[in-house]
Symmetry: C2
Subunit: 259 residues, 2 copies
């Protein structure tokens, strides 16, 4: 059976109208799906209002104790339950989960050397048996970017890597497609040209795309992550715009396919 | 099979040490259980910091749109996931849920007349089939005081009435005991005397206790609520202190029993 694992980030979450339009379309996906949401800007804004300092190192959020409370509130509460309620309203039987719930995402706290990111975790184990049970019962799991460590509790965790770990772990039970929705229509050959989408990336052409400088910076770990998922059993990975998602699930050749 | 439905409120939630001690003891309950938590003072404090005004009418919180965001964050995120993570750490396989998740608690928004409480809901239907599935899978559901209305979304909801509704709905599948943990050792005959616990309240002696003025004010709806649950299939209801809970589940005659 097919399974769609979909990751959405700030460009969708931060705009209530974009989010609502996106969620409404999920109803058109006939097969089971799991949605993973990132955090967006709401956490930073809420932290600011609460007087909790936002501290970034190399583009990554340092999660102090106070900041962990904020992400538990915003990711685990506000964003997650908002998505669940909107999906329920259109007849999708959603269930929101953090990594601690039913130990869905077990993690280890990242070592404090060389950089101490605080309460940040790397996923170690996905409770795929439980997720499979939910999917078979017709439920649609909505995962917040929070994992769980038995020693340190709830940990702030990158949504991209959660999506990969979930897709990979479920690939023994399902034929899994993984989608990373982002602001562009795909991985672009030329950032100035929205139509220069690279249709296919695989382990063969990836190296040469890197060498030519076409794929660089933040896109490199994203694609490495996707290639790893494919190697470990995920059928195909797409980097695409949320507007094209439904058509891709139905077989349209849009976005960048990593296989 | 027995099932324990336990409601805890601010006197436990607001103190991290009391909460941790309480949760650690839940491990000693051999039978399945469901925990319902209230909100405590954290929501009011967080609202204050966020510049969201707290407005109370007759001791009840008016839930504006901004206040709903706060309770979704604090009840659905911070408190709920905190409890789940602490239980997971001691080997209790907890799963946190709001009323929107798997439509566990369907509600209707309270009419705006005579008093408009805003986004406040009254529970209409409990998804007891789903809760039963979780319990049979060895999971321990932790319910936040948030229900769900298909028209108005997530609604702020009284935790006492959620506990009663959940206990009642599951009484067709289980032999249910319902516990309201509060700051006193039971319903007292004389508020000045901690030892003047009324051991048993039933529909026979309730009227006379009311007429004598022994039971009054906020305790009246609490006991009416409990008597209704008993009438509708709940085996027994206890009003007790959290310190006595485990012993009561094991048969000790502590607290006030309503039957």
């Amino acid at each position: 059976m097919r399974l769609h694992v979909i990751k959405i980030g700030g460009n969708i979450i931060d705009d209530p109208i974009v989010l609502n339009t996106f969620l409404a379309k999920l109803k058109d996906i006939a097969e089971p799906l799991i949605l993973i949401h990132g955090g967006g800007k709401i956490a930073t804004k809420t932290a600011e209002k609460l007087g909790v300092q936002t501290n970034m190192i190399e583009g990554r959020r340092v999660t102090s104790g106070a900041m962990r409370d904020v992400v538990m509130m915003v990711y685990g509460g506000l964003i997650n339950k908002n998505i669940v309620a909107q999906l329920q309203a259109i007849g999708v039987n959603a269930i929101g989960l953090s990594g601690a719930d039913a130990k869905v995402l077990e993690a280890v706290k990242r070592p404090t050397e060389p950089i101490d990111y605080g309460f940040v975790g790397d996923v170690k184990k996905v409770n795929s048996v439980f997720l499979k049970t939910l999917l078979e019962a017709g439920l649609c799991p909505i995962l917040a970017p929070l994992s769980y460590d038995p020693v340190h509790g709830v940990l702030n965790t990158n949504a991209d890597t959660i999506a990969s770990a979930v897709a990979t772990s479920l690939s023994t039970h399902f034929e899994v497609s993984l989608y990373f929705c982002f602001e562009k229509k795909g991985v672009l050959r030329d950032l100035a040209d929205e139509n220069s989408i690279i249709k296919d990336i695989n382990s063969q052409n990836f190296d040469s795309l890197k060498k030519q400088g076409i794929i660089y910076e933040g896109m490199i770990p994203k694609i490495q992550n996707a290639l790893k998922a494919v190697k470990e059993g995920v059928e195909s990975v797409y980097i695409c715009q949320e507007a094209d998602l439904i058509e891709i699930t139905q077989g349209a050749s849009l976005g960048t396919k990593i296989s």
